[in-house]
């Protein structure tokens, strides 16, 4: 179990990056840590794995203060910090993995089993003989992920693990994490900007904003907001039904009479369908363009819902 108690973190000459964080992450829970750039996600992960010392409060893993007991707890932990390589650049991937095997004291059988398993999901076999320096960014990410999963850690922390990965690799990674969750009963914490991937694997979402926990609850709430929120831009040639058109324009988020464009924001599929059906009756439409909600809009929706429910 991971416990974070009244945790604050500030840097020299700056205000608090994290403010009074109180969280308990239970065993075998998969949590998505969401938030905009600069919201404090990475700092929180670094405090949770003992890299940074909190200014106040503590983070505990298995009941032990992680900063004071980092060395003892490392064998239970696997951490990926995106864009910070831990590989030796002029060695091949297989040599690097042998190095990690040696520092984690993994026996040959467990090492081969873990490698085979990881390869099934994220396909790293073809990279093993290549020097690390010759790999693409996405391939390096795959190798980093492999290196932290070799010892089957009980706690897995992934900071933006999908940056640089293609669709198949992302999908493979989430399936691999699901395997670790089900078979190894691992506790996993992922920070990501890609909300659409987390629904299948995470049981919980935490949204950080300006260093504070603003939302801590079901991941579905966040994903529903993403799936159901859309912006529709319409360009029309002429108005067919004046009365209906007037009503529709009243509900629009933007209307430009000269350019003959209208913009709507919809929250539910039914609302979108009804709107489109009304639009066809009221306007002679030249083009319709639908865009999904941005992550910022999703977070704002979720946070607004919380405020309204209070």
């Amino acid at each position: 179990m991971i416990d974070i108690v009244r945790l604050y973190k500030s840097y020299k000459n700056s205000e608090d990056i994290l403010k009074n964080i109180n969280l308990t992450i239970n065993d075998n829970e998969v949590t998505a840590l969401l938030g905009h750039n600069g919201s404090g996600k990475s700092t929180l992960i670094k405090c949770m794995v003992g890299v940074l010392k909190p200014t106040q409060g503590s983070a505990y893993i298995e009941g032990k203060d992680i900063f004071d007991n980092r060395k003892k707890l490392l064998k239970y932990i696997g951490v990926v910090f995106n864009q910070k390589p831990s590989f030796i650049v002029d060695l091949t991937i297989s040599d690097n993995l042998l190095f990690f095997k040696s520092i984690y004291n993994i026996n040959d059988e467990d090492f081969n089993k873990a490698l085979e398993l990881i390869n099934t999901y994220i396909n790293i076999e073809n990279l093993l003989d290549k020097p690390y320096r010759k790999l693409s960014f996405g391939e390096r990410v795959k190798c980093e992920i492999t290196s932290v999963l070799l010892h089957s850690p009980k706690y897995i922390f992934l900071d933006e693990p999908t940056i640089g990965l293609d669709y198949n690799a992302k999908k493979g990674l989430y399936l691999l994490l699901d395997h670790y969750k089900k078979e190894n009963h691992s506790t996993i914490l992922i920070t990501t900007h890609e909300v659409d991937y987390i629904e299948g694997i995470c049981n919980r979402a935490i949204i950080l904003s300006k260093g504070e926990v603003k939302y801590d609850g079901r991941v579905e709430t966040v994903c529903n907001s993403l799936n159901h929120r859309a912006t529709i831009n319409i360009e029309f040639a002429q108005i067919i039904d004046e009365e209906k058109a007037k009503k529709i324009i009243q509900g629009a988020s933007a209307f430009n009479k000269d350019e003959q464009t209208i913009t709507f924001t919809c929250f539910h599929t039914e609302e979108k369908d009804r709107l489109l059906s009304d639009l066809i009756k009221a306007f002679s439409i030249s083009s319709i363009n639908t865009t999904s909600a941005s992550l910022r809009e999703v977070f704002e929706d979720v946070l607004k819902e919380i405020v309204e429910s209070k």
Partner: protein, 264 residues
């Protein structure tokens, strides 16, 4: 456990060094050549000094060769194993410490193991033995080994000092000058410190470890020290090792608590 892990890692890296040697043959051969050039130039310098009558009081050319042997041993081991300790500041400054702190191998040990040049260790050992043989000085085997042990301990002490200087990056960030400054410390290895005034000799044998880099070993092997003096210097060396280990531990702990990383 720690020793077993270190031994396993060293075995692994010996294999990697062999692969690297095969992969970068030209670079490896040039490295041997440059070491050889440095070594020949050093002997030539002392030969010219002696030929022109510039003796170190109480030291014959053959005895100076014994000093050079230990000096080469110190310098060789330093550049083959420990020299990267002065670059540790960059790992702190660049934020790469994040990933290293989350692996079960101390980042400082990792830096040293990863940069150990096993080929250079072999060439250093061969150079050392060759100069000792060429010197023609009759040497007690036990003292020869004791001299080597002193040089290795002095290397460790210097690495500890360099790490301590590198830790300043926790407070002040970029510390390029630290690398330069801590590399300068090996200059005290170039000549026997017997030429120094007594007060400096005492400082270099107590608070600072420069006397132990190669002068102490050479004096011990050449039986230029009284029994009581030798004992005092051995205590001085052990004191240096312990005190720098303690300082290293304290400053590392304070530094790591201040560490701010990069990118949040």
């Amino acid at each position: 456990m720690f020793l077993k892990k270190s031994w396993n890692l060293n075995k692994l890296f010996i294999c990697f060094n062999i692969s690297r040697f095969k992969m970068f043959k030209v670079d490896s051969i040039l490295n041997i050549f440059s070491s050889l050039t440095f070594f020949v130039a050093n002997i030539f310098f002392w030969f010219i000094m002696t030929e022109t009558g510039l003796f170190i009081k109480g030291w014959s050319f053959n005895e100076t060769l014994v000093f050079i042997a230990y000096s080469e041993l110190f310098f060789g081991l330093d550049s083959a194993i420990f020299s990267m300790s002065s670059r540790f500041w960059y790992i702190i400054y660049s934020g790469n410490l994040d990933t290293l702190l989350t692996r079960p191998l101390d980042p400082r040990i990792r830096l040293i193991i990863l940069n150990t040049n096993y080929l250079e260790i072999v060439t250093t050992a061969l150079s050392f033995l060759m100069i000792i043989i060429v010197s023609g000085v009759k040497i007690n085997f036990f003292l020869l080994i004791a001299g080597i042990a002193i040089v290795i301990i002095a290397n460790i002490v210097l690495a500890l000092i360099r790490f301590i200087m590198s830790y300043s990056a926790f407070w002040v960030g970029r510390m390029d000058a630290v690398s330069e400054l801590s590399d300068c410390l090996t200059w005290f290895n170039k000549y026997p410190l017997v030429i120094m005034p007594t007060l400096l000799k005492i400082v270099f044998a107590t608070i600072l470890p420069f006397y132990f880099f190669s002068t102490f070993s050479a004096e011990l092997v050449l039986v230029k020290l009284t029994y009581s003096k030798a004992i005092v210097f051995v205590i001085g060396l052990i004191f240096n090792l312990i005190i720098w280990m303690i300082i290293n531990k304290i400053i590392w702990k304070k530094g790591i608590a201040r560490y701010e990383s990069l990118n949040g």
